[in-house]
Every structure is written in C-alpha cells, then in structure tokens.
Amino acid sequence: MSNNQYNSIEPDDFLSPAAPSYVEATSYSDTYDNPFETNIPMRLNSPSIEPDDVPLPGQKPLSPAKNSLPKVSGTIGSSSNQGNSSGSASGNIGRAGVGLGVGEAMIGSGIDTLDEPVSETLLRDLRNVGAKLQQVLYPKGRKDILKDWDLWGPLLMCLTLSIVLSMRAPAEQKITVFTWIFIIVWMGSAVVTINAKLLGGRVSFFQSVCVIGYCLFPLVLVSVASIFVHSIFIRLPLSVVAFGWASWASLGFLSDSNLANRRALGVYPLFLFYFIIAWMILIS
C-alpha cells in the first residue's frame, strides 16, 4: 500500500530518481496527474502528526491546504526548490513539528507548494533568515527560534563579509583575502563547535554553527559601514562595539551548563574567532 511506501522513506532516498517515491508517482496513471492529490486519509489520522494549520514561529498562519513541509515534497519534483533544499532540509522538517522523523514528515505533506510562485518559496526562507537576524539583534522574545538551524544565514553573512573585505584589499591579495575570510568563518565555526563538544559540552553541531554564523551580523554591518568610513577613530569604536555585541549574542545562545570548570576554555575560542574577524574589518 502506498501508505507504507511513504512511511518507510529515508531522507536520502527521495533525492534520487530511483527512490520508491518516483516509482510510486509514475505508477499512478499514464498521464501526468499530480500523484499526491490522492486523498489518503490514514496519514492524517496518525497521532504523531501535528495539524497542518498550526502557525509556526515567524510564519504567517497557513491555509490548511498549504502546510509547512514544502522542502520535503519539493525535492521530489520541483526544480525551483533544489537550491533551497540542501541547506535547509533538516531545519524545515524540524520546524514542522517537534519530534517528527523525516519519514513521517513526508506524510500528508501535499504537493501544494509546487503550485506556489517561486518568489513565495524564496521569500519564506528569506523571512526565516530575517526573523533569526532580528533575534540576534534584539535577543528578547523567543529564544528557540534559533533552535531550528539553517545554514543560509551564515552563508549570507560569510559571503557578504568576504566580498566586502576582498573589495577593500590590495589588488594582488583580493583572492587570498576572500579565501581567508571564507575559511576563517566556516572552519572557525566548526572548530569552535567541535572544541565545545570535546570539552564535554552538549551542543548540537549544526545549531552551534548556525548561531555563530548569525551572530556575525553586527560585524557584517560594521564592515559595510567601513567601506565608507576610513577614519580609525570611528572604525575602532564601531569594531569594538560590534565585537562585543557579536560575542555577547552568541554567548547568550551557546551558554552551556555542562562545562563546569571549563567555561573559559570553551568561550575563549569564540572570542578569538570574533576578534580576528573584527581585526580584519578594522584594518581593511
């Protein structure tokens, strides 16, 4: 029965054309019907699935026909979602309901988001990124908005920073500077996270990378500002403020009670990370 097919699909499976879902889809009819229009009531009665019309943090309430699991179904057939799916698949699945596995998340997803305009698809992610940035800037309100991580925000921050700083670099060093910033941001986030894990802290890897990346936002702002401002007397306080802000914001999210006597050991690499980025902005 098709129910069981969908129940057993692993996340990787339906990215490949050989996945059972493809086979299932083409077996419905000869002409290209929307295979998911079939009403399969059993899925909707499953107790582990949250109703579709519960609005999620940062989202406007969805109509019952649309739901919040577009990426899961989008990756099957929609080419416009391909780019989005890689970075945020897990994050969106996690968003849909606490504790849903990926296999169950596919159930009842409906393919209605295939019909939406591309702008709507992109804007949904952009709004999510914007909501998280807001959370970084004003850390009051819901703290768990950063719990469903996505790597779009850090990528945006990293790219902006790299492009701005390499623009300001001497001509023969532009590529090196871009490379360095890229490496520092990504490897730095990874290393800081692994360091916290090795010291015994309980942090989720991608969530921590996501938080560290989002907290780069003040530094990105200062780097854009320093395109126009060259005086050291303005740049220095700005950089110091941005460094303090970024460190304080990320500390707030990553404070971990499991690091008893080692808090300084876990926090120091974070400071080093933001310091070196603030320094590169300062001297650019």
Partner: protein, 283 residues
C-alpha cells in the same frame, strides 16, 4: 574483578585489562583513572615520567571515552580533559621552566593547549605585525595596506612547528627505541609556543635591540623548556643518536626563532628616530 568502589591496586598488565570492570569502576573515579591511563597509552609508561596522575579523581571522562570508535568525537574528548586552571598552570610552567613539565601535567597531556596556543600565536603574530605596519605607514604619512600573506606564512610555519615537528621527533625517537609518547611530544611543543605570545606583543615597540633581546629571551626560555623535558626521552637512545636528535631539536627551535624575528619582528625602516634594522627581512 572485584573493583567495587574504593581504591584498588591495579597492575598495568595485559591480563588485568578487563572492560567488564567498567560498570562498577565508573563509580570509583580513582580506579577509572587508572584503567584508562593504562588503556590509552600504547606502551607502558616509564616510571620516571610522573606517575602522579594515577589516582587522580578528576579523570572520570577518560573512562567514558574508552570503547568509542576512533572516528567519533567522544573518542578524542579524553585529550581535552582539562580545566581552565590546569591550562593556565601549564602555560605558566612552560614560560618559566622550573619543574618537570610532565609532572605539572600530572600524566595526562592534553591537546587543547597545543592547538589553541598555536592558533593564538598565529593570530597574535598577524595582529602585531599589522599594528606595526600601520603605525609605520601612519608616521610616514603613507596609505596603509595590510599584508594578508603574513597570515598565511604564520599559519604554515606555526602549525608545522606545533604538529609536524613533534611528530617527526616522535618518529625519530621511536625508531631509535626511546619509547616516546606522541601526546607528550605534542603537548611539549604546543605549550612551548606560549612564550611567543608576549614576545610578539612586546615587539610592537620600535627598538630593534629590544626586539632582538625579546626574541633571544623567548627562544632561550622555550628552548630550555623543550630540552629539559625531552632529555629523559632522548637519553634512552644510544649516546650518539641522542646527541644528534638533541642537536636537531635545538636547531629547529633556533630556526623558528630566526624566522619569527626576520619575518614578523623586523619591520620597515625609514622611521625618523628609530634605528634601521641591521639586516633586511628575509623574503
């Protein structure tokens, strides 16, 4: 095994290493510390190397890390089993080499110190050299452009010195039968780099003589630290080979000091009032 709580004398003997005693011994940190120390070192630890760590109650984490696959993060957490105070203590002991460092480490070398001290040294070198370049440019009224290649150079040199050189020395001493411990080598070289942080920061001051004095003092301090703690290992080889390896260690250390001096601490001349460096920086 009847290791039910309390202290038990465990001989470091292959027959006695039984994993089933873990469930009970995890409640007794001292026994855990003992078992894990004998599990984690591939060779029996020579007695002269500080057996002070055997009944350390702080080593519960080492017990939990045994049995994990080598590609998991948990396997490596036993190398990061240090507290802030321990790291600071080890750093100070490396700058002022009074005691036997292996006793200071209490028999549990860590990898946190080597990695983060090396990374800090890289960034401090870059920051201090860019400070001096910018002061130079400011004083001679030229536009300042930083040189990112210094960061690349620092990255390569320091990480090579902190990781490749200890591995090489370990390989060499192992070949000649000195029974070295790789972790201790890495910890020695890593903590030995600590002294370059204050040297780099103080070398921002513009007097060349001062910079030379600082570099020599730093090289001497960390050189003494290295040689003193490596000597027990090296002396276990034959006299001729140990002399050669010792000379190699000292030679590499001097090379590092000279590279740092000429690449990072010898800044541009042309400032009115300061003496020009006696030699041009090596390219």
């Amino acid at each position: 095994m009847s290791n039910k709580g309390g202290y038990s004398a465990i001989e470091i003997d292959d027959d006695e290493l039984q994993f089933q005693s873990f469930a009970s011994s995890s409640n007794s940190p001292s026994a855990t510390g003992n078992i894990s120390s004998s599990n984690s070192t591939p060779q029996p630890r020579p007695a002269g190397f500080g057996t002070a760590g055997t009944f350390d109650p702080n080593r519960t984490m080492q017990g939990q890390a045994i049995g994990k696959p080598i590609w998991s993060v948990e396997y490596y957490s036993k190398f990061f089993d240090v507290d802030t105070s321990q790291v600071m203590e080890r750093c100070m002991a490396s700058i002022f080499p009074k005691d036997n460092f292996l006793e200071v480490m209490g028999g549990s070398p860590d990898l946190y110190g080597p990695f983060w001290i090396a990374t800090t040294v890289i960034f401090v070198l870059f920051v201090s050299s860019s400070i001096v370049d910018s002061i130079n440019a400011f004083l001679s009224s030229q536009p300042y452009a930083y040189d990112i290649r210094q960061l690349t150079f620092a990255f390569g040199t320091i990480y090579m010195y902190a990781f490749l050189v200890p591995a090489m020395i370990w390989g060499a001493t192992k070949y000649f039968g000195c029974q070295p411990d790789l972790l201790e080598m890495l910890a020695l070289y890593g903590y030995g780099l600590t002294v370059w942080i204050p040297v780099a920061l103080l070398s921002i001051l513009p007097w060349n003589l001062l910079r030379w004095a600082l570099v020599l003092a730093g090289a001497a301090a960390s050189g003494v630290f290295l040689v003193r703690n490596l000597y027990p290992v090296l002396s276990r080889a034959e006299a001729q080979t140990s002399k050669v390896i010792l000379i190699l260690v000292i030679g590499l250390h001097t090379l590092l000091a000279l590279i740092l001096k000429y690449k990072f601490f010898a800044y541009n001349a042309g400032l009115p009032g300061t003496d020009a460096p006696t030699e041009t920086p090596a390219a």
